[in-house]
Every structure is written in C-alpha cells, then in structure tokens.
Amino acid sequence: MSILVNKDTKLVVQGITGRDGKFHSGKMKAYGTNVVAGVSPGKEGLLIDGIPVFNTVAAAVKATGANTSIVFVPAAFAADAIMEASEAGIKLVIAITEGLPIQDMLRVTPFLKQNGTLLIGPNCPGLITPDEALIGILPGNIFKKGNIGFISRSGTLTYEVVNLLTLNDFGQTTCVGIGGDPIAGLYFVDLLERFENDPETIAVVVIGEIGGDAEEQAAQFIADKMTKPVVAFIAGQTAPTGKRMGHAGAIISSGSGTAAEKIAAFNKAGVPVAKEPNEIPVLLRELLNK
C-alpha cells in the first residue's frame, strides 16, 4: 500500500510542451509512472516522448481516463490550469509551479472543494511511491520502497533526508513534498491521517520549517489521533523575523511561526525532533526498536 499515488495512477501533464514539463515528463515516464497524456492549448496531436498531447484537460481525460494531473504551467496561468483539471474531473492535482499569487490560491481553494478535488502544492517537488509512481521533479534514484511515510515543506532538504533514510535502510511507502507556499493544498494533518490509515506505513518523518502553525497542528493531531511513531525536523532556527526565507511561506511574522515554538509543540506531543538531518535515522531506529 501507499497513499495518493500508485501503479493505478494515470497521469496527465499540464504544460507538457514547456521546458520543465517536457524534461520531467520524460523522467517520470522513465521511472515507470503511467503518464497517459499531456495538455498544451493549440498543440493537440503532438507526441512528446510518445505521450499524446491534447488542447484541454477534458479532452485528455475523455481519451485516456487520466485521474491525476501535474501542473508545470507558468505562475500567471497556473491557477486557471489547476481549476481546469478540477472541472475536468481530475481528483488529485499536483502543482509544481512556483510563484503563484496568494489571491489566485484563495480562489482555487473553494473551487476545488466544490468539485472534491485534492491538491498538492503549489511550489512543491511532487510526490513518489517508490517503484510505482513518481509524480514531480524528485530524483527517483534516491528513493527506496519500504515502510516509512515522509512529509516535507521543502525540496532539496527532502532529498537530503530521504537519501539518509535510504542509506540507513529505511525505505519509504510514499514521500510527499507539500510545498513552501503559505496557502497550499494537502498539508501535514491531512497526510498524517492517511499514513496512520495506511497498513504498510510503520512510522512517519515530518520536515517542517518556520512560518504559520501547521507543525503545531500536526503535533496536536499526533498526540490525539496517531498510534504510529513520528520523528520531526524543523528548518529555520537561525532565521530572522520578518524575512521571507526563499519559500513564500517561510517567514516569522510578529514573532510567531518560529522554529522554537514548533519544536516545543512536537516535544510536548512526545515527538522527538532531530537537531540536524543526520539524527533523523538515529531517532527513527530508537523509536522502532522500542
């Protein structure tokens, strides 16, 4: 088992003729992901890496039965692309695009809710169920099938930590990069709940960072609802107040959203927090050997 994506995922790539869309469609297909269609208005009839291109998501869904979409469309048009996928009946949209205006996301959110569409991202690296489906820009070679669930707000920090897990023989059920924006789709609590219910997942690693209070909510959820062990790491302990640390959502405003508050919340919930990435597999081993 796994969460959200697996062998049965049929993927449509929105923005497949752009530089990133094209490059990563090839990578995803080479990994073994079932990429069934691409969308690029005005380019219907093209084949990219053997993947048929359609003018609209609706046409792609009708012809191929696509059930999941990945969005590489530029920021100014990405909200429209996400809503197009939702209206076409896609149930899971992964938005890789960075730089979406917040007001656009505030309109996307209720629209998707009405249609019952789930969103991951934007500004995220995507997700992977090792050996089944890679949907995103993640480097497939560092992941390994196993029993650890993984959730992170970051990209390369995810690779750093997953690499450490794999080297320490902790394979993964599914790894999800939820993205660095303040208004995003599925978040810690939504995914922790899915990992708790996934029979193959035996423990979860959570990588948070400064900004917002999603980690505090995750800590509360773990304390109240979870039976499986969780290990956390929080980036940004040395970040100054009021500055956006690369990610739009990584900002301490008026003294709230600090790493110290998040670490305290996890500690209170009985979740060990690693001081540095190296410590994550060590803490995981300790918890699983108990």
Binding site: T156, G180, Q237, T238, E276
Partner: protein
C-alpha cells in the same frame, strides 16, 4: 513588499476610504509651510518601514507652527530600529472620541481573507489578541463571493450602535476589501479607525504589505517600492535568480534549495559558528549563478569562510562541479571555500573538483565543521 503610511493613505483615498488631510515633507521648512497651510493642530509622523515608531518618539502632536518645527527637527534624521527617518507626514490632527482596529490578512488555516475588527484600537493587535482575545471579531471571507454588503453591515453593527456610524464603517470594510484583493495585498490594516465628535468615521493610520509573487501584475504598487540598503541587495540577487538574506555572522553559505539553505544555517550555528546569510541558488548548474552568488557573499566584508552545500537531485553533481570550476576561474579571493557535493553523480563531481584545490567533503556536517575551522584561521 512593504509601503509607507503616506502611500497606504494614497491608496485609501483612491478607494474612497476617508483619511485626514496630509502633506509629505522632507525638510523642516517644508513642515513649517505645510503646518501653516493646514492652519490647524497637526501630527508629525515619521515615515519608516518598521513598526513601533510611536514608542520610539517618531510621532508628535503639534498645536502650532513652532511645535511642528521643533517636532520635525527631532524626528527628521532620527534612527528608528536601524531605519533613518528621511521624511515625515504632517497630518491634520482630528479630534478622537473612540479608536477601533480594522485589519485584513490571508489566513493560512481557513485559506481565506480574514477580516478582523476590534473596539480596542490604537494598540498593536497582537497585544489585544494576547490580553483580550474576546475583543477581536473575526470573519472569514469567501473568495468566490467577496465581502458582501450585509456581512460588512453585520460586523459594523457589532462595533457601532449608531446607524450612521455603522454605515460609514461598513462602507470602509467593503472598500478596504476591494483594495486588498485588487492590489494583491497580504496585510491591510487601519489602526486606528476613529470616531470623531461630529460622528465621522475615518482612517488615521494605515499599513499595507503586498504579495511579492503578484508584483508582476501590480505595476502601480511596484512603483511605490522604497527599498532600504539590505533590501536593495536582496532585490538585486532576486533579479539574478538568487534568493539572498543577509545575517550577522561570518560564514557565507551557498546552497541549492531554500529548506536545505535554512538547515545549513542552523547546522553552522549548532556546531558553534555564525551564518553570514541565507542564499538559495536554485536547481541549476549555471556557472554565472555561482559567480553572481559568490560576488554577493564576498561583498559582505564580515565573511571569513564560505560553505557551498549542494545536494544533487535532477541537477547532477558533475554538472554542478563543472559550473563551479568555471566560476572559480573568474573569482579571485583568499577566503577559504569548502564544497560539499552529495547525491546524483557526487563521486564524479568530487573527482572533477580535485583540480581546483578547494577542500571538498561529502557530508553536510563535515562541511559545516570544516568551514567553521577555516573561518577561525
């Protein structure tokens, strides 16, 4: 992006939100002239992009021209939390019966624009939230419908018993929401909103911040940007595809990815060093980016060692190494540079780097330790 109070007032006026008359002044003589022309009691207010100017003495009431001149002499040139005051706003000092708070923010949890109002105005809303949270009324606005008139009225009636006052307040709420959405704001605050003895409701102080991701479609807002020295460096970095924030330490960091860049700073601190900056060079192996990034790091005279931390994912480490080698041909510096490469094709990348004489390591912790050690030599 932040703007000054005088700019927020300009936007308020444009959207029909009543604000007192004011004049922006850069010199004492301009303040004297403005006060004479307004011919009333005025407030002289420092225009800086940091909060807490009132407590710092940057806002003064002046009953006459002499008072205004002496206030201007004190405030112009004053340092408020590291910001030098270069201009002041001379504003009509209206009589106040009662002060209120009105604010709009993007709420991460409900994923909506949230209107917050309070009968406790004139103090920081964070303090009200801490001491009297029941005095803050919150309303989550549905982005598909916007703030509807009856909703605005309903909230206004919770603050004002009198119908003429409530009508004015409701109109201000809907206008502020329109301004907020149309300019892609992330904060719009009127603090205080005041009631005057002649039953007028108006905005005395305004604060607005905007979504950096939306500036591409907000030319009018972008034209209001007045960056300070540190921000100029950040904006310049951003135009080169780099995300840079200056800190106070001495170990320069160059990292691919924002989360990893934060984790790198944290690790340096954990091992007893002080990071000089946050710098995310993104996911490319373009030598020009490394050159630009290195120039920014070396411009900071405090930097005594540099740590380059790259985790190769889709971007392969051998490509990154080739980019670094090209960059190093252009960069001349005596400052030690430690390179950490890990991930895809790391071994090939490290092999290539042998020709540069740069100390190379394969783990992040080794790199941090080495950089700290070299920074002290």
């Amino acid at each position: 992006m932040k703007i000054h109070e005088y700019q927020a007032r300009q936007l308020f006026r444009k959207y029909g939100i009543p604000v007192p008359e004011d004049v922006l002044c850069y010199t004492v003589s301009e303040v004297e002239k403005a006060t004479r022309e307004l011919n009333r009691m005025v407030v002289v207010k420092a225009q800086v992009l940091v909060g807490g100017r009132g407590k710092a003495g940057g806002v003064k009431l002046a009953r006459n021209v002499d008072d205004a001149v002496s206030a201007a002499k004190q405030i112009l040139g004053m340092d408020i939390k590291g910001c030098k005051v270069e201009k002041v706003l001379v504003s009509d000092a209206v009589e106040i019966t009662k002060e209120y708070y009105v604010g709009l923010i993007n709420d991460r949890n409900t994923k909506s624009v949230t209107l917050m109002v309070s009968s406790e105005g004139g103090v920081e809303i964070e303090e009200v939230a801490k001491d009297n949270p029941e005095k803050i009324i919150k309303f989550h606005i549905n982005s598909l419908t916007g703030l509807l008139d009856f909703q605005a009225r309903d909230i206004a009636f919770q603050l004002f018993g009198d119908i003429t006052q409530a009508k004015q307040a409701a109109s201000i709420f809907t206008k502020l929401y329109k301004l907020y959405v149309e300019t892609d704001a992330t904060i719009a605050e009127i603090n205080p909103l005041v009631l005057t003895p002649d039953n007028k409701v108006l905005a005395i102080d305004g604060k607005m911040n905007f979504d950096d991701n939306a500036l591409f479609r907000q030319p009018e807002i972008l034209a209001m940007r007045e960056p300070d020295e540190d921000e100029l460096v950040e904006i310049d970095a951003s135009s080169k595809g780099l995300s840079y924030i200056k800190l106070d330490g001495n170990i320069g960091c160059m990292v691919n990815g924002a989360g990893l860049a934060m984790a790198t700073m944290d690790m340096i601190k954990l091992y007893g060093g002080e990071p000089a900056n946050f710098l995310d060079i993104g996911g490319s192996s373009n030598p020009q980016k490394v050159i630009d990034a290195m120039n920014i790091l070396l411009n900071d005279k405090k930097v005594t060692a540099v740590m380059i931390n790259i985790f190769g994912g889709i971007t392969r480490c051998d490509d990154v190494a080739k980019g670094l080698i090209k960059a190093m041909e252009v960069i001349t510096t005596n400052i030690p540079i430690v390179v950490r490469l890990s991930g895809t094709n790391a071994a090939e990348g490290l092999e290539l780097l042998k020709q540069t004489n740069l100390p190379t390591v394969s783990s992040m912790s080794e790199a941090a330790k080495k950089a700290i050690e070299l920074s002290r030599q």
